[in-house]
Amino acid sequence: MSTPLLEVRDLTLRSGQGRVIVSGVDLTVGAGETIGIVGESGSGKSMTARALMGLLPRGVEVSGSVTYQGRELLPGRRGRRLHDDFAMVFQDPFTMLNPLMRAGRHISETLRDPRGRRLRGAAARKQERVRLAEVGIHDPSVADRYPFELSGGMRQRVGIAATLSCDPTLLLADEPTTALDVTTQAEILALLKKIQRERDMGMVLITHDLGVAFGMCDRIYVLYAGQLVEVGPSAGIERRPLHPYTQGLLDSEPPADRRLATLTSMPGSVPRASDVLGTCPFADRCAWVADECRRPTPLRRTEEGRSTACVRIGEIGGELARAGRRQGAAVPAPAERRDDLLVEVRDLRKDFTRAGRTVHALRGVTLEVGKGESVGIVGESGSGKTTLGRCLVGLETPTGGTVRIGDVDAGDYARLPGRVVAALRSRVQMAFQDPYSTLSPARSIGAVLKEAIRLNGSAPGQADGSGRGRPGGSGRRLDGEVAELLALVGLPAEYAGRKPAALSGGERQRVALARALARKPDLIVCDEIVSALDVSVQAQILTLLTRLQRELGVAYVFITHDLAVVRQVTDRLYVLRHGQLVESGATEKVLDEPEAAYTRTLISSIPARTEKETQP
């Protein structure tokens, strides 16, 4: 094999305090080849990309070797790119463009005329137009607009055009579509692939999504807690992973095409890289852990082009493959249960007025939720799905239409008598997206849960036979109830004494659910509650939700942008777009036989896993 374009050996990154972030990473990128670095948060994938660009944050130190066309680039100069032929597409199109600079100027500011002077005037305009066309923007007026006047997808296209302005031979893309809507994601990924082929660039795609990586990359590097655990061709890894973590990652990813009886989830969460140095980083979460896993586990070649860090792969390979199959069984979604109506929303409208402009967030949405039913609301950003959820719990007051919860007209909480609101609060609860701000930072978990439990006592008209909600429950009874609630969401009782800062994201979402459950609601509105979580943790929460529904008979309004997730936890589905209902029906039916063109677009935008069914 000729000299590869980029060769990375033993790349190690240390933070200012000397803590290891990434250790011993080896990568190879050939000309025209696309590799993927796949990992969850804390894996060090973004830091690796930044190290390759020479854009590490202050204090982070790099060691090892990075050679480009055989030339060593490290250590490089601070504040400068590692090499002028490298370029990087950033993750967030909303923050990566200079808000005070025309979109086009981002593209032309680094261009030089043959005499080495910065392009200006007509010459710059012409280049801007040509290069915008390359990324699929054929409206030349875009060049003259400011970033805030462009949509996320447009900004990402402008960003890509700007990235390409130095005509790189190696393109790094750090989660280039994570901040975008699903339909835009598919377009941007296709665009990147097209440009990579046309320009025959080497590409490094950083992503948390194995599905995306399989679709885009020739080879995949799986990074976990700062160490590579598996490397191989996409097809090979997709067919048969050679590391329990990769297998776990694949299994945790909910399939979009069928509902599983149980999602496999890995216990626990991703450790810090510095805590698992010198051992297999996955050992603490692995079902096959043995003594030899507590020693250094470098990557070893197993077969042509593949390597794994799992020292036990020889023994457990067969078992691992079988574990992957076990979860393949699909179950039909439960039949419709709408005999007993819990929530009835008719022609709901909501306008927001900001800076003199009116935005119609909801334009007449009708929705029903039965007792114990799980209802999904799916839509992209701006669809009004979150507003709808907030209207249900009185965080927004609708502009028009009706919301009935049980036999109460809950359109405007502010106008209802306190007694009625209290009763509503004990029927409908909500859980939020951001796990890091969903709990009072100043108070312990136990204090928050107790506060919620005590509210049951003060709510009149609460007929419940369990005897839990009596006013002024004694301290010990409260402690017992807190422990019960924590157990219900799968947390040990000691967590009552902890502050939110000591909890991981997944644990915080569990507490948030416990807090909602403390009021023994009939319905919990879940607003994107798993979208900020890593996929392995997401599976845990989804499993928890299904269990709670089964055990407590609680109903959900599950708001999400993720069709695969919604398939796993909902019975019926509403598809929203621009504040209007596009389609509704049984989840399975809507997803398998979509009627609306928009729903079809949504479904076809899901990054496809080429292999649909695992053979039994």
Partner: protein
């Protein structure tokens, strides 16, 4: 943003400005009533009180009228820049003020320039060399600058450069020629500028550091945009709003600081006039000076607000 929207904004702001000045003028006018002692005594000062004089004063200040009428009559004159006669100097207040203006204006502009130039330079240097000894030094100076009262800075400068080294004159504002003024007012202006420099440096540093942490700076670096362009087009351009705001605050600080500095360096400016008038209970002069400063500050604040439109296209087109 359309012209109409801009006009509407301007209209709203101007209305607010007028309202604000009305409130301030009312408070300033009320001052004479809040002052201890007999009003006529206050207006007459310590001088001899003949019945004719008392009657003249009562007529001049419409003391026989209800309070609100007095205020409105006073306001009517004030709008025409007539603040009455100085009790102490027996001269038109406007003339007295005009006489004192040149020193204060010279000192103020000089001090403001010192503050903006030094503050920007220090702030930029600190932000670019973040965490180094340059940064530590700049921030240390800035903290010391806001912590040291203007008059103390003035006095230390006076002692070191005026007395110990003898480089600059210790007292007075010099001849009205530019070069002599410059020589006499250099120490006062530097002393006056120290607080502003500190303010400006702190703000510039904070804004630039925040700016350099933005994604778009990283993205620009990744595209190979040069360091100077990143500083100017990415860093400073995006920091203009806080920097201009800081500059507005520096003007205010310079105005009030000049009161102290004129006292320290025995300069015959508006500030010195204000203090001696307060001590002499020369109320008309105090009123006029306060109104003058209030108008200046309010206008500066308006200009700062307007500059946001020029800086940020989002405010223009939104």
């Amino acid at each position: 943003m359309t012209l109409r929207a801009l006009a509407a904004f301007l209209g709203r702001r101007l209305l607010g400005l007028v309202l604000l000045l009305l409130i301030i003028s009312f408070l300033v006018f009320s001052l004479i009533y809040l002052a201890p002692g007999n009003l006529v005594d206050a207006l007459l000062g310590t001088g001899e009180k003949s019945p004719q004089l008392v009657a003249a004063i009562e007529a001049r200040y419409h003391l026989d009228q209800p309070f609100m009428v007095q205020y409105l009559l006073w306001l009517k004159d004030a709008v025409q820049l007539d603040f009455g006669t100085s009790i102490k100097l027996n001269e038109s207040v406007t003339a007295v003020l005009a006489d004192r203006m040149s020193v204060t204006l010279f000192l103020g502009v000089f001090g403001f320039l010192v503050a903006v130039v030094c503050g920007l330079a220090l702030g930029i240097a600190a932000a670019l060399r973040r965490g180094t000894s340059v940064d530590r030094g700049a921030v240390g100076l800035a903290v010391l600058g806001v912590s040291t009262p203007t008059f103390a800075t003035g006095l230390i400068l006076l002692w070191v450069f005026g007395i110990l080294l003898g480089w600059f004159p210790v007292i007075g504002d010099g001849d009205p020629t530019f070069s002599d003024r410059l020589w006499h007012l250099t120490l006062p202006a530097i002393a006056l500028g120290v607080t502003g420099t500190a303010l400006m440096a702190k703000m510039t540093r904070a804004a630039l550091i925040a700016g350099y942490e933005q994604d778009y700076v990283g993205f620009a670096r990744s595209r190979g945009v040069g360091g100077l362009r990143i500083l100017l087009v990415y860093g400073l351009r995006n920091s203009l709003v806080p920097i201009v705001t800081a500059a507005g605050m520096v003007i205010t600080a310079t105005l009030t600081g000049s009161v102290l500095i004129e006292q320290t360096f025995s300069l015959k400016g508006v500030g010195e006039l204000l203090i001696s008038s307060i001590n002499n209970k020369d109320i008309p002069v105090v009123q006029a000076t306060t109104i003058l400063v209030a108008v200046l500050v309010v206008v500066v604040n308006l200009l700062v607000d307007l500059s946001y439109f020029a800086i940020d296209p989002r405010t223009r087109r939104a």
